[in-house]
Amino acid sequence: MKFTFSDEEEAFRAEVKEFLKDYQDLNGFFDQGHDWPSVREFFKAMAAKGYLSVCWPEEYGGLNKSASYEYIVWDEVAYARCARPPLGPGIVAKTIIRYGDDEQKKRWLKPLRDGEMHFSLAYSEPEAGSDLASVRCRAELKGDKYIVNGQKCWQSYAQDMDYFWLLCRTGTQESRGRGCSLMIVPKDAPGITVAPLPLMDDDQLNEVFFDNVEIPVNQRIGPENGAWKLMNAALADERHIQFPPSRLRRDLEDVISWTRDQGLLDDPVVRNTLGDLASQVLEGEVLGLSVLDAMMRGEHGVMEAAANKVAQTISCQNIARAVTEFGGPESLVKGTLSELIWRQSMWETIGGGTSEIMRGVIARNSLGLVAKT
């Protein structure tokens, strides 16, 4: 048993840390929406180091490393608060590598690897949030093109991205998850409108409207009506980097530092709270490693990832809420980390699978409970 990384991995981490030194002022983890040009440059620099394609096979220009290297990259990037893992070189590229045809691989993989091409996830709809199998946005095949009509909602970063990774209905509504396909849709295609939904954390989500948007059939990835399998595989590819635990560690370190500045660090009640939060961060770190470990052993890590998601996102809220509790009005001033994470972390237990959905996953798969409702 070993909870630490190999010397080679640690050497790689040191290299990543060295690289990140130049980006200490980049706040893309919390604020990509306001600083996309800088984050884009950062991704390009990462690409130059091969960091966007750490786990890709060599034949597609990747470093062909194990998942642990990818974990290290995004955990350090999270600690440095520079960015969150981008969709394109992650889910999109890995799906193309696994299910795309040769032409698709040739066309898309290089710009993705180079950080030149960025994607927004277009899964959710106003009436299909947790329940994605009920999506209604429709793609109808006419000749060699799909005609897409419908609406997507709650799209992160859509305002800045170049493409959508679109989940749409190609079968009947009743066929649920068995009637959906995945497509690559350029944002500048005629018929697309993006409308911002400003958020309480000063970022934004977006609504996206598709009005007779034409998509060449060769921009469908994988078989028609085959989206579900691709989506599950893509989830599996990203479980270990969905919630990097060093985000928690950095939150707590920053909160402790703020608490010290406020002269509150020796208050026994505050101390009691911080001690509890410290154990939560340690829990988050081993849960994160558990996901990685499962993947390194070739398992799916579904349970580990669900546990990791629930526990870490709640701990992340606990940190934010604790400091606004003991920190009084000072902790609520805009510009303090505590105030920002109070607002920002509200999203963490919702996006990427709500805590309720995740608890259901554990109840069903790990405890054998039906828990359908």
């Binding site: 949030g129 400003p198 809420r321 000072e330 902790s331 919702i350 409702t373």
Partner: protein, 322 residues
């Protein structure tokens, strides 16, 4: 007369009148728009209704009338230094009291800063009456120099500025008790408002072929909110009764009400955000303008440690000998 937990006709009249007023003049959009500004017009209109000085000798009422008003104002998330103003009406006299009651003089209440640090003062540009809480004492203050403006989560403008104490206030305990009562009634009502809009969402929004409200993971937290808020609301009313009857336990009940209301309102905030999902985190959505205000108000007033001491005094504990 025995137990009776209903408002008198007159108190119910106040509640209804303010509800009518806020429904017309202070819908959610207005609250969102006013973030960062002093609600000058609304404040004047509220003053015209005669609410602000209601708990003074000439105001014709007491803490229960304040509670009736705050339940209506909280449900609308009405902006401005409401509880602070009610506090001020218990410690000011003469023209000053007159002006505060008429909405012409704005009250700012801040906590004593650590050591030499600047104070973090709400409404520094509007306030004519600046008060500072230190433990259970209240001091009149004047500001020295001009404030460095910041924004706070609740949306109200704050400033960092040096405050100089000009004198200690005599009946601080009474003022703080009314503050606690007022802010509790407000927070409980704002929480109730959140429960209501969230329940409405849960009754209508469908996922997996059924309404959200059919899932216990949605229904039960809302039920817990509703239970907790009803305790807080009732405790605020009980404290108001004790206050109006001049009973010894008024301060302890008021402090207990504030502890209760901040806890139940914050629980509700988190439950509502979770249940509304993405919709709940939008700036224009039905949750955030309430949740930010509840979070801000829950840190106002005397410290939680002080409130604990006052509540514990009702159980025969004297203040800690530290």
């Amino acid at each position: 007369m025995s137990l009776d937990l209903t408002f008198s006709d007159e108190q119910a009249g106040i509640l209804d009148a303010i509800r009518k007023f806020t429904k017309e003049r202070c819908p959610g959009e207005t609250v969102r728009e006013l973030a960062g500004k002093f609600p000058t017009e609304l404040w004047a209109e509220l003053a015209e209704l005669g609410v602000l000085p209601i708990a003074t000798e000439d105001g014709g009422g007491g803490a229960l009338e304040v509670v009736a008003a705050m339940e209506a104002l909280g449900a609308a998330v009405f902006p401005g230094p409401l509880a602070e103003t009610f506090l001020a009406t218990q410690i000011l006299e003469g023209d000053e009291l007159q002006e505060v009651g008429a909405g012409e003089s704005i009250v700012s209440l801040s906590a004593a800063p650590r050591g030499d640090a600047l104070s973090l003062v709400p409404w520094p540009e509007q306030a004519k009456v600046s008060l500072q809480i230190d433990g259970t004492n209240i001091y009149r203050c004047k500001t020295v120099g001009s404030p460095e403006m910041v924004t706070s989560l609740g949306g109200d403008p704050y400033g960092r500025v040096k405050l100089e104490r000009t004198g200690e206030v005599k009946n601080a305990a009474r003022g703080l008790a009314l503050f606690d009562i007022a802010v509790s009634a407000y927070m409980a009502a704002a929480g109730d408002d959140l429960v209501e809009v969230t329940a409405e969402h849960a009754r209508t929004r469908k996922q997996f072929g059924r309404t959200l409200g059919e899932f216990q993971a949605v229904a039960h937290p809302l039920a817990e909110s509703s239970i907790a808020l009803s305790a807080s609301r009732t405790l605020a009313r009980a404290a108001a009764c004790a206050f109006d009857e001049g009973r010894d336990d008024a301060n302890g009940l008021a402090a207990g009400a504030r502890l209760s209301a901040r806890k139940s309102a914050l629980f509700t905030v988190y439950a509502s955000h979770q249940i509304f999902g993405a919709m709940g985190i939008t700036l224009e959505g039905p949750v955030y303008h309430v949740s930010r205000r509840i979070r801000q108000l829950s840190s106002a007033g005397a410290s939680v440690a002080v409130a604990h001491e006052e509540a514990l005094a009702l159980f025969g504990i004297n203040a800690v000998s530290a």
